[in-house]
Symmetry: C2
Amino acid sequence: MLGAVAVLPMLPKLVGTAVAQAQIAPLASWNDGPAKRAILDFVRMTTDLASPSFVPSAERIATFDQDGTLWVEHPMYAQVIYCLDRVPAVVKAKPELAKVPAFETVLSGNREAIANLPPDDLEEILVATLTGMSVDDFEAEAEKWLETAKDPRWKRPYTDLTYLPMQEVLQYLRANGYKTYIVTGGGQDFVRVYADRTYGIPPEQVVGTAAGTKYGYDNAGKPFLTKEPKLLLNDNNAGKPEGIHLMTGRRPYIAFGNSTGDRQMLEYTKAGDGTRMSLLVLHDDAQREYAYGPAQGLPDTKVGAFPQTLYDQAKTQGWTVISMKNDWNRIFAF
Amino acid sequence: MLGAVAVLPMLPKLVGTAVAQAQIAPLASWNDGPAKRAILDFVRMTTDLASPSFVPSAERIATFDQDGTLWVEHPMYAQVIYCLDRVPAVVKAKPELAKVPAFETVLSGNREAIANLPPDDLEEILVATLTGMSVDDFEAEAEKWLETAKDPRWKRPYTDLTYLPMQEVLQYLRANGYKTYIVTGGGQDFVRVYADRTYGIPPEQVVGTAAGTKYGYDNAGKPFLTKEPKLLLNDNNAGKPEGIHLMTGRRPYIAFGNSTGDRQMLEYTKAGDGTRMSLLVLHDDAQREYAYGPAQGLPDTKVGAFPQTLYDQAKTQGWTVISMKNDWNRIFAF
């Protein structure tokens, strides 16, 4: 570790310490336990030409859920906060919305009421703030928000709240010929705005919940796409393997998730021929991050639902459970 | 050229002469005319770091229509022939279909009646032959067909009927950091079966008309996806830029098409910031391939409709028209 730190100032274009560490020893933020060993074994078995489980590099697909798997999802998904933050601007443009209950609640600033918005009301907010504008305008708005918005607990931009051990896994898999994809229940276009600079994952490798777009022309006759309030892909639950097929035509060899929304992706991955691996991140570190799901015997939470049945399925089907508390010696790069 | 031929036997894993030619002189099957020069200029301008039009490699996206742009589409799309060929097996599995007019026509073997199937009847055939089976079974069926089916004019597998000059463009763009995509009105899953070995384009870089899939379990509890008779993306006309956005989140820098179904993709590409290029293949070589569209003053054909308005738009908006007759010194590798 001292060696890595000493070398740091000499590395050009260094993106955080994660890169340097990955170059020295893979998965440095992982404790030497069963999860780390299983990942190293999997990569060795699927990339060693002499191994019976060898996978040609073109077929090496790795998929990662985002919220709760690559970055913090509690107490509220970053994208939902984005949508809530956009409400004043949307109401300003359409004043009649101020009288609609969902918008009234958000404008009231009542945190508890906002946190408990009924699903239909929340959907109304999401549709109003995520559709109806051009693809380029949406990207510019999201970009602006990401530059200034901060998580209330760590007082840092949301894109800082990625898990260092998972960043190391992304880098390690890529260094071994794996193509890394995000497969998120969140908005495909939203995640694409920051996925490249945050995870090194380009927009074409982000699969997410997607609204349709509509082709049209501006006043000067220039073509552009408008985000439509029409759900094309609900990239949750069964929608994850369906979305992966739509976007890649392949079955992943390794997949990471952390909640019931990832269940089918993990099943589907693990059930493929040859050596496949599914991993489940368990949020059991209340001190350094959060503890929810079976770790605390908690009931299903709104965010990151992880019932006991999911844990049991992991054990039965041979998925690897990652304990944030025991498997990770660091959580964040900061 | 003598040099290239002499070197051939020494090159390992050589995929046709196209590769060797591309290594020696790019676009060797192109005559030295305006189309070839425009492509070479475009690549130089967008890849030279010193050029004001330089494009970072991650953003270098090239999109290609398939039927009529990368391979022969006349007199009937290969995929439609596949569907027609599948009819006996489908009727065998569901004998009640034998009485349905669309299937009756196909089973009759009456070539003229089959060629003139009403659109609704044809759609019935496509749905019955392309959906309702698992993704894996579909792939195996299509694979089997491709191995044996032959084009009636050239008596060769359909995958041999790709245009050598376009294969050279694919290779040349990739050698210059471009990611090449097929953007086809044809079935996404169908084209994925052969795109990699035929064009070097992996399944995740095929955007096409896509049916939804449905996640489920077989009797042994193993998860699999079934192709559903539910249209998710009609990748024609405005559906092309919409599909490109869905699958990549980017606007292409260069796009190739040959019919009205490509109009919006070509407009959209050309209208982007910086230096962009749109190209239109004109089928004007009745002897070596086919002549249709404005080249022959023909009315709109069922396959590869290319009205005069498309030609006019190419001229107005600065798209490059590729004359198969004048721009290509060879059409096929065989």
